[in-house]
């Protein structure tokens, strides 16, 4: 399990990185935290002609607030996010999700940009991006563009990023003050990718729900927004009957695949169970 040969570039600026990437016409891979790409290389399942390593592009690691968004540089480590006061304050869902990402030695290396660009549908960050209706910034030879979460994920491990583009920034709207949130996840072993995970956000006004967000991990080829379940809450409020109805709806909205760990039926069942748990907990911490 040793990687095949490749050329290696460790640019120190984004422009250099784009330049290097452009030279290989789609045959190069961007190396961020490496926690997913390196195993693929070791298994020789990925065989790029070159790696463009972003770990020395210091300008891609930051967390700042701007225009009502929290903007995270693509190379911001998961561990930095885990301990960021700004994230804790403005994006508590992201903080909670981060604790579910792998293990400590994964989070010290893994990055938010890498996780999202890798687009593993069982991962937490894509679900958070979907739930918060975030967007990502991509830079390529033709310039910069902003891609909404809904337009980013195409299928397993596939995004709408062009081969010569680099995901440079993740933008997540700051959560409304007092919003309730939860990420519930079920995996067979702690730290593993989710069999199913549900990210939930609710904004409440008494028993009324002014905004509900539900997004899945592990319940299909891309993270799924459970819009019809959200609407149940937004119209029926936050009572137990509405939660149950939303959870039931969630099982109908997902179209999961089977693997050796779980059948589609069981995953669908879990989507309901975790939707209920996530909503119950989110409502519990919501103020307003």
């Amino acid at each position: 399990m040793k990687p095949p040969k490749f050329e290696y570039h460790a640019p120190t600026s984004l422009d250099e990185a784009l330049d290097a990437l452009g030279r290989y016409g789609g045959d190069a891979k961007v190396l961020a935290g490496g926690q997913s790409l390196m195993p693929l290389l070791n298994f020789r399942l990925a065989r790029p002609a070159a790696l463009v390593d972003l770990n020395r592009v210091a300008s891609l690691a930051y967390i700042r607030e701007q225009d009502g968004q929290v903007r995270l540089g693509a190379m911001t480590r998961q561990r930095t996010i885990e301990f960021s006061p700004l994230v804790a304050q403005r994006l508590p869902l992201l903080k909670e999700a981060t604790r579910w990402v792998g293990h400590l030695p994964i989070r010290t290396r893994g990055t938010i940009g890498g996780s999202i660009a890798h687009a593993d549908p069982s991962a937490e960050y894509p679900a958070v991006l979907a739930a918060l209706e975030g967007e990502v910034v991509a830079r390529g030879a033709r310039g910069e563009r902003v891609i909404r979460a809904a337009d980013l994920f195409q299928t397993y491990l596939t995004t709408s990023l062009a081969p010569d583009e680099i995901l440079t920034e993740v933008r997540l709207p700051a959560m409304p003050a007092g919003a309730g949130y939860a990420l519930e996840e079920f995996s067979r072993r702690h730290g593993d990718f989710a069999i199913v995970g549900i990210a939930a956000v609710v904004v409440r006004a008494g028993q009324r729900c002014t905004m509900a967000r539900l997004a899945t991990a592990g319940a299909g080829p891309v993270p799924v927004r459970l819009r019809a379940a959200e609407e149940i809450l937004e119209t029926e409020g936050l009572g137990e009957a509405a939660i149950d109805a939303a959870a039931r709806r969630a099982t109908e909205l997902v179209d999961p695949d089977a693997d050796i760990h779980a059948s589609a039926d069981y995953r669908r069942h879990l989507a309901g169970v975790l939707t209920k748990r996530a909503l119950t907990r989110a409502i519990g911490v919501a103020r307003g």
């Binding site: 399990m1 040793k2 072993r189 730290g191 760990h261 059948s263 069942h269 879990l270 169970v273």
Partner: protein, 785 residues
């Protein structure tokens, strides 16, 4: 034994191997890198069953840095294929070539071997070898393998049925027919794999001048490997040295001879350069022996009072593509029928075992061998019977245990159990769990709608097996003895050399404790050497819960021999009758006259200082080699009790409590005994809840990474409460009973019974392990939950 000497045996002594392992100074195979060494990699079959038409290695050989490529044909010219022979009728002997010869029989089978300047280049070269396969129909499971229309994997066997064996006592059919209650079930214990954290690996060096071959290997059984290499490579035994210094876990997986070891020796001998192969995790999951994989149809007949009248079982094991050396394909299924009757009085019995070849990795020994499934079956039947009869699960066991007055008890399969503590262990487990309180808690939980259950599993295992019985049935290799050499140097320090090979069990500590006590020196003065066939007296290695019993017994014998000589020399030095000399801490003194004494060091110096310092006619030197054969062997037993909760929504099983009461006879080091139990239970929990090797219908391995083969992490394992009953074995030196495997034997059954108990309101039985959330989802849906 002298008075007043602090006993080492029985003490919680911190391990002597720890400082080197904690500081990164272990000596595992992969830590060695002799000059001019080449790295090996294997090309492995992508097909489950195929004929090899042609192999073209020219592109691989053309790659810079590649020294050689070997194929099955090349190896066949310099090494014989392995044949795991059996003396038992109805066990077929088949060939296992080091590299596939003509045909591949499972995905991952080694087809060609590359030696190159780095592992990286070796893997590049492997990709450039072109093999033309002619795919053959896949034999995917035991049912289809036994179909007369099925392709036959080994032409020489003429059938896929490699093993048939039966044990019987009395007229079981009549007994079951007349029983007041019969419980029956088809049990399925799925395929597992040991997953040692250190992958298998080896390093071969051939000295062209002397013709000597040295093989460092991650082996549990260096002696056994040396013996068979002699035959396969046609070399004299004294020119082959096998070394296994530090080994990163074995659990039975490293007790067999592997194709890669032979191929690496052949490559090194051919090139005259050291060659190292270190398996990677993919290779480990594909080509290290797998385990258990059995279907057991069993029926238990009982009287109305819950006493057993008869047990019938049909065991069928999926033994995979090859019969492994030396244990043969019989080890798993025959062991299962040997131990199915458990610690119970079973008056009539018939156990039939079949081992069937399929296109999967070979089945081999893994912690417990046959007994995790056997205990799952018998303990599952006991619980089913208890439920039907309205008896408490503890009570039905107590009514059936072999009682004190029954020992020695000959089991229906012919095993003789020496005095054991079945009843006492169960009662102590009940106390430890506070059984009444636990049942009350369960009742409250149930009333609140929670699925909480308690499961008990009692078992007995044969350990420390001597020469009367082969470790694996019909195996031609004798495994009944081990030896120890105890040697004093003139400075009074001891080197103790053993043929066993510790790979995590802490034998450097426990054996040193025994030696220290026997010859009267502190543990710091004893150095234990093991795992090196050049250094040790004849022995085979560490497996089958034997090392403490056999090597410990040999240490006692050798220690006694040395001590007797020390008493003679001390008597001479003290001008006293040796019969009046006694052992005191660190010195030998005249009885009742502590001032008249000599130190161990003075005695040792005298032993090497010539005739003037020794009694007339006494041979100089101070060392002894003794062999020990416990003949039948002994038994360990335990009761495990688990309390679990099944999450009604996610179907996840949470272990709330886990209690073990075990009896391994006289304990040498309770710290290590507890550690062995903890590790064994964790593997049993993995087997019961998480781990499963899965192949698809085409024989492709679907659980080929550690993401898919789910070994438990610290979060899935609970704190375990371990208690001891200490019944010294009446039949072994020192009273020791082997105990390395027990944790894994009891845990799957205890967990399964606890889950079934939790789901009893739904009338769900657990007949399949691992009992995953997916399986529980299906079971509970079917039951209408």
């Amino acid at each position: 034994m002298g008075v007043g000497l602090p006993r080492l045996v029985g003490a919680r002594v911190a391990r002597r191997e720890d400082p080197r392992l904690l500081t990164g100074q272990g000596s595992y195979v992969d830590d060695h890198r002799p000059a001019r060494m080449l790295y090996a990699a294997f090309l492995r079959s992508p097909h489950a069953h195929a004929r090899i038409r042609r192999i073209d290695a020219s592109a691989a050989l053309a790659l810079p840095g590649v020294a050689a490529v070997l194929t099955g044909d090349d190896i066949a010219r310099s090494a014989k294929p392995v044949r795991a022979a059996s003396k038992t009728p109805n066990v077929k002997t088949t060939s296992y070539p080091p590299l596939a010869l003509g045909k591949v029989r499972h995905v991952g089978e080694a087809v060609a071997m590359v030696a190159a300047e780095s592992r990286y280049v070796a893997e590049d070269a492997v990709e450039r070898i072109v093999v033309e396969y002619e795919p053959l129909p896949v034999v995917r499971d035991v049912e289809s393998a036994l179909d007369p229309a099925s392709p036959v994997l080994h032409d020489e066997a003429e059938t896929n049925l490699l093993v048939s064996r039966e044990f019987a006592r009395g007229d079981v059919d009549a007994a079951v027919a007349g029983a007041a209650l019969v419980v029956r079930e088809r049990f399925r214990f799925h395929r597992h794999t040991p997953v040692c954290m250190e992958n298998r690996g080896c390093l071969a060096e051939y000295a062209t001048g002397s013709g000597a071959l040295t093989l460092r290997s991650s082996a549990q059984c260096p002696g056994l490997v040396r013996d068979i290499l002699t035959d396969l490579l046609d070399m004299p035994e004294h020119l082959i040295r096998v070394i296994a210094t530090d080994v990163g876990g074995g659990f039975g997986a490293k007790a067999s001879l592997y194709p890669e070891e032979i191929a690496t020796c052949v490559m090194a001998r051919r090139l005259g350069r050291p060659v190292k192969w270190i398996g990677d995790r993919r290779e480990d999951l594909l080509a290290t022996t797998h385990a258990w994989d059995e279907i057991v149809d069993a029926e238990l007949g009982l009287n109305q009072d819950g006493t057993i009248v008869g047990l019938r079982a049909e065991v069928i094991a999926d033994v995979g593509g090859y019969s492994i050396y030396p244990w043969t394909a019989a080890i798993e299924p025959v062991q299962t029928i040997s131990f199915l009757p458990g610690p119970y009085r079973v008056p009539t019995y018939r156990g039939r075992a079949r081992g069937v070849a399929t296109c999967k990795a070979p089945l081999g020994p893994y912690r417990g061998v046959g007994r995790p499934p056997a205990v799952f079956v018998i303990e599952g039947l006991m619980d089913r019977a208890a439920r039907r009869l309205g008896l408490d699960p503890a009570e039905i066991r107590l009514r059936n245990f072999i009682r004190d007055e029954d020992f020695p008890y000959k089991s229906p399969s012919g095993i003789v159990w020496d005095r054991s503590s079945f009843t006492e262990s169960l009662q102590k487990a009940r106390e430890a769990l506070d059984y009444k309180a636990a049942r009350d808690e369960q009742a409250r939980a149930r009333a609140a709608g929670r699925w909480v259950g308690i499961g008990i599993a009692s078992y007995v295992e044969l350990t420390g097996i001597g020469s009367a019985i082969p470790v694996s049935p019909g195996m031609p290799v004798s495994t009944g003895t081990e030896a120890a050499t105890i040697r004093f140097d003139p400075a009074g320090k001891v080197t103790a050399v053993f043929g066993v090979a510790s790979h995590g069990q802490g034998l450097e500590t426990t054996l040193a404790q025994i030696v220290g006590d026997e010859v009267g020196v502190p543990i710091e003065d004893v150095r234990v050497v093991h795992g090196d066939t050049d250094a040790s007296p004849y022995g085979t290695g560490t497996y089958a819960s034997r090392s403490l019993v056999l090597a410990g017994g040999a240490a006692i014998l050798a220690g006694r021999s040395v001590r007797e000589k020390m008493l003679v020399i001390a008597g001479h030095l003290l001008e006293a009758d040796p019969a009046d000399v006694t052992l005191a801490p660190g010195r030998y003194a005249v009885r009742g006259m502590p001032d008249r004494s000599v130190t161990v060091r003075q005695i040792a110096r005298a032993a090497y200082s010539g005739a003037k310092h020794l009694p007339k006619g006494l041979e100089p030197g101070l060392e002894a080699t003794r062999f020990y054969d416990p003949y039948y062997g002994t038994a360990s037993n335990a009761t495990h009790a688990a309390m679990v909760e099944v999450d009604r929504a996610t179907l996840e099983v949470k272990i709330l409590r886990y209690v073990v009461v075990e009896d391994c006879g006289r304990m040498v080091n309770p710290l290590i005994v507890d550690g062995q139990v903890h590790g064994g239970v964790a593997q049993g929990i993995g087997a019961a809840l998480l781990e499963e090797i899965v192949y698809d219908d085409q024989g492709q391995l679907l659980s080929g990474t550690l993401m898919d083969y789910v070994v438990p992490s610290a979060c899935e394992i609970p704190m375990m409460e371990v208690h001891h009953v200490e019944t010294p074995s009446p039949v072994t030196l020192g009273g020791f009973r082997g105990m390395g495997e027990g944790g894994t034997i009891g845990a799957p059954a205890a967990i399964a019974n606890a889950v079934a108990d939790a789901l009893a309101p739904l009338s769900i039985e657990v007949a399949e392990l691992p009992v995953t959330p997916e399986r529980l989802f299906r079971l509970t849906r079917k039951a209408g939950a």
